[in-house]
């Protein structure tokens, strides 16, 4: 009987319901019936052996408690696919924000330390992802209880509103990449706004004179790109309009980068540091000047070519859309 009582206490500990005393009382009664049934058969066992056999058949006390008091899942089954999508997108967003934050620290830093850069990214990511996970799960737990999430998602659904080209799905990761790239470009373009004067004076490379207008041109392009990326998050597949806008967006980037590449030098060595560098690192200074004259042009042309390639690819996709 000691074994049965031990088992019942283990079950009771797992039960949270107010009528757990009654459940235990009933379980005790059922166990004794089952044990008695074994002992009335031909090969009767002693009480403890029969008890062990019956209790083993019932299963672990935690399983038994859960069968009497099934717990509602944190996220309803029907909401799981949507939950996973939201979690994945949130994780990507948090990671990209951590990346942007780390890159801004990198730009301000006196030296480049890859290990410290990685630590900053992952530290920032881990700092934020736990809170994001908890908030999203709580939202799904409370709203998913009465099927509210499902009702909300499909509240306006009509067959006529289905996308014309469901096969051509927009990629969330591409939208995230475009968004982050534009945000980072804005960060770089507007360094004078967020970086301290002291840090700016220590920057080795600065924008050449008469090139200030590029800040504004790139700002407009980045704003268009950010708007389009955010819009794409609300769409599951490409439409002709969104695709045309995307092609134009990339084509404009390509044109701007090609023009910037032709207007060398776009960047120069910080005049305040030229003398010091000439004395301390003359070879590095020579190399840097050479890179700023030619290397930057080639880099900008490569980026422009990439943007042009993207524009051409999506232009071709546009011909396939209904």
């Amino acid at each position: 009987m000691e074994l049965v009582e031990r088992y019942l206490q283990s079950v009771e500990v797992e039960l949270g319901t107010p009528d757990k005393a009654d459940i235990i009382r009933e379980l005790r009664s059922n166990f004794l019936d089952e044990i008695e049934n074994i002992n009335t058969s031909e090969n009767s066992l002693d009480f403890d052996d029969a008890s062990a056999l019956v209790l083993k058949k019932y299963g672990h006390p935690v399983q038994v408690a859960q069968s009497f008091e099934p717990k509602a899942p944190l996220v309803a089954g029907v909401d799981m696919p949507f939950y996973k999508t939201i979690l994945l997108n949130a994780a990507i967003l948090v990671f990209l924000l951590a990346l942007v934050k780390s890159l801004s620290v990198l730009i301000s830093a006196d030296s480049v330390n890859p290990i410290s850069f990685l630590f900053i990214i992952f530290g920032s990511f881990l700092d934020n992802i736990a809170m994001v996970l908890i908030v999203i799960t709580l939202i799904f737990y409370y709203l998913g209880k009465d099927g509210a999430i499902q009702k909300w998602r499909y509240r306006y659904w009509q067959p006529q509103t289905l996308p014309k080209n469901p096969k051509y799905k927009t990629s969330t990761s591409d939208s995230m990449t475009d968004l982050t790239t534009s945000l980072f470009l804005l960060l770089v373009v507007w360094i004078p706004l967020w970086m301290s004067q002291d840090s700016q004076q220590n920057l080795i490379v600065v924008l050449a004179d008469n090139n200030e207008h590029w800040r504004y041109v790139l700002t407009v392009l980045c704003a268009l790109s950010i708007t389009h990326s955010l819009y794409r998050f609300t769409q599951h597949s490409w439409s002709k309009l969104s695709l045309r806008t995307y092609v134009v967006d990339n084509a404009l980037f390509a044109i701007v980068f090609f023009i910037m590449a032709s207007e060398a030098p776009l960047f120069i060595i910080n005049p305040g540091l030229v003398l010091a560098l000439a004395v301390e690192h003359p070879d590095s200074l020579r190399w840097a000047k050479e890179f700023l004259m030619n290397g930057v042009s080639w880099t900008l042309m490569a980026i422009g070519a990439l943007a042009a390639g993207v524009a051409l690819y999506y232009g071709w996709l546009l011909t396939k859309l209904k």
Binding site: I23, R25, E26, L27, S29, N30, L32, D33, E34, N37, K57, Y58, G59, Q63, V64, S67, F68
Partner: protein, 113 residues
Amino acid sequence: MADERASKLRLELRRGILVLSALASCKTPQYGYSMRKHLAEAGLEIDEGTLYPLIRRLANQGLLDSEWQQADGRERRYYRLSASGQEVLSQLTTDWAELNASLTQILAQSEIE
């Protein structure tokens, strides 16, 4: 593999008739073990871990009335159909008869084909 699949599907099929079986058993007063034995004798083996929580749930839903009784020096909780349980059993019995008739027809047609 096929046996495993069939076994899972068989379990699903049996799960569908558990409530009806339990309610029908409680036309006469039953306690947990006696109900399991009654169903097993009729050819419906149900393990204890499934049946006992089920009859408690039916009692909590008001479909079964229950009371503790002393007999043979032991106490047992006896269940029997409540008034609403009687109504539900009657509806489910009708539904079952209709489903059974439909399924018999479908199976007969598939045999012909």
